[in-house]
């Protein structure tokens, strides 16, 4: 049971990670369209900084966009991890409540057996 739980758990979590990351990325990308002023000014500021270190303006701009993509990718990844930890915690809370419905056992009965 522990092994099957482990396999299912790993499988669910890796699938969720990818799906939630895509979801968050979609939302984040919605905020950095070319017509949002904040994005424009950030883009301008960063590319001029990069251009300052010797790159041509067009290259600097490309690199800035690449960096923004990386940032979005990282942030959406981190957000998806938070989601998953939240779901796992909620599941544990349910198990916590369930524990109180267990019947009494006799601690001295010698029933301690680890399950694999």
């Amino acid at each position: 049971m522990r092994n099957i739980g482990g396999s299912i758990g790993t499988s669910v979590v890796t699938t969720m990670l990818v799906r939630r990351a895509q979801y968050h990325q979609q939302i984040l990308v919605g905020h950095i369209t070319p017509d949002t002023p904040a994005y424009q000014s950030a883009l301008h500021a960063l590319s001029s900084k990069i251009a300052h270190s010797g790159l041509r303006a067009a290259d600097a701009r490309d690199q800035t966009i690449a960096r923004f993509y990386q940032l979005v990718h990282q942030q959406s990844g981190a957000l998806s991890y938070m989601d998953i930890f939240w779901v796992l915690a909620a599941l544990c809370s349910i198990m916590f409540v369930l524990a109180f419905f267990l019947k009494k056992n006799d601690p001295g009965a010698g029933g301690q057996v680890a399950a694999g």
Partner: protein, 429 residues
């Protein structure tokens, strides 16, 4: 198997092994440790295996899948096999199969052969865990069982943590072939020690001699169902679940086989899996909790290193080190909780465990970000693991308590619900 489900005679209660029980505990735990280690040790070596054998990375992931699938098939029927051929003999046969196939894995000249040997290795390894538990259970008197299983629990929980680190180090410094060779001295030693130390309790012989009718139908449904389940869980994400015909076929096969299996076994007089045990609320809940514990343990084991590696640029070795703090905590906690289980009611310990786990995970959800330090990540892992330390032993105690109290006659079937019942079936009632 009703012939074997006898009311157990009282002599077994006074039976004790001739050698120190701790020597036996060390022997069987060693075997179980290697088995669990081998489920995770190859993970990091896959790119090297693929490169060395001229295969693609995708194909090489079958090295993990084939082992796990073979394992999953053998695990639930191991109790039954042991009853058939004798426990010690079965344990030694498993070890021997494991040894030979490990050697062959290390020597494998091509990927298909490696996969075949890995599957054989999984067949050998599948019997080691439940049998180790059953042997421990009969070797120790009830008062000491908590501690004995704590020792075993350490190996079962520690091995998946150590595996990737060890595997990474071996492949980086030597060759992936050595991750298979390195197990040889250990399993050979375990084989020798088992031969000279472990003995079958007298009541097992008697049970063995009872006539056994083989439930071929149940066994094939179990093998097919569990085998496909394991493969689909391993490959599902990669192949996009229902987007792939292969995965869809596996899902249908697994569902049909497993549902049919439960119905079949429910009405059968001599089941290989005693599904009727699930009528006990405590047993069913304990199984659900054991399932959830595995879910939490293994999913967080993947989450933390993956977070650190993909988003924060950690190396595999460094990410593995983050987990080490959690391993140490478990090492300390297991014996303590083992002792507590014989003093405090299991349900209070279980409630504490889930509460710790829930708090730890909520804390992670709120505090994890791209600025976490190595030290903080390590503490996050510790917070996740503390709860698990509280759960391992008490859940089993709660699961089988009802059977103990009623002195129920438990079928000598090992159930899919794990080793709980593999162990239950071996329990002197």
């Amino acid at each position: 198997m009703s012939a074997t489900a006898l009311a157990l005679p009282s002599e077994q209660v006074v039976w004790r092994p001739k050698v120190s029980p701790w020597a036996i505990a060390a022997t069987v735990s060693m075997a179980a440790f290697i088995e669990v280690l081998d489920t995770s040790v190859a993970n990091v070596a896959l790119p090297y295996v693929a490169g060395g054998l001229g295969a693609s990375y995708d194909d090489s992931t079958w090295v993990l899948t084939s082992y796990l699938a073979a394992n999953a098939i053998v695990l639930p029927i191991s109790g039954w096999l042991a009853a058939l051929i004798g426990r010690k003999r079965y344990f030694m046969m498993s070890l021997a199969i494991f040894t030979v196939s490990s050697l062959l894995c290390g020597l494998a000249p091509s990927l298909p052969l490696l996969l075949f040997f890995r599957a054989v290795q999984g067949v050998g390894g599948g019997g080691l865990q439940p049998m180790a538990q059953a042997i421990l259970n009969d070797t120790f008197p009830p008062e000491q069982r908590g501690q004995a299983f704590a020792v075993y629990g350490i190996t079962a929980v520690l091995a998946p943590t150590v595996g990737p680190m060890l595997g990474g180090w071996i492949t980086d410094s030597y060759s992936w072939r050595w991750i298979f060779f390195i197990t040889l001295p250990v399993v050979l030693l375990a084989l020798y020690l088992t031969h000279s130390l472990v003995e079958d309790p007298p009541f097992l012989h008697r049970l063995k001699s009872g006539g056994i009718r083989v439930d071929y139908m149940g066994m094939s449904m179990l093998a097919l169902g569990v085998g496909s389940l394991q493969v689909l869980l391993d490959k599902g994400q990669e192949d996009d679940w229902f987007g792939s015909h292969f995965i869809t076929t596996l899902i249908i096969t697994a569902a049909v086989c497993l549902i049919a299996l439960v119905i079949w076994e429910w009405f059968r007089k001599e089941p290989i899996i005693d599904v009727r045990m699930f009528k006990s609320f405590n047993f069913a809940t304990a199984n659900l909790m054991m399932f959830m514990m595995g879910f939490m343990l293994f999913s967080t084991l993947v989450l933390i290193p993956e977070f650190l590696q993909t988003l924060m640029g950690y190396t595999a070795e460094l990410a593995g080190l983050v987990l080490s703090g959690g391993g140490v905590i478990l090492l300390v906690m297991m014996p303590i909780v083992g002792r507590l289980t014989s003093k405090i009611q299991a349900r209070w310990l279980i409630a504490t465990g889930w509460l710790c786990l829930a708090i730890g995970l909520f804390y992670c959800a709120h505090n994890i970000d791209l600025f976490v330090s190595f030290r903080f990540a390590m503490w996050l892992r510790v917070a996740q693991v503390v709860g698990i330390g509280f759960l391992f032993v008490p859940i089993t105690a709660a699961g089988i308590s009802e059977f103990l109290r009623r002195k129920a006659i438990v079928s000598r079937a090992s159930s899919i619900s794990c080793a709980t019942s593999a162990a239950v079936s071996e329990l002197p009632s």
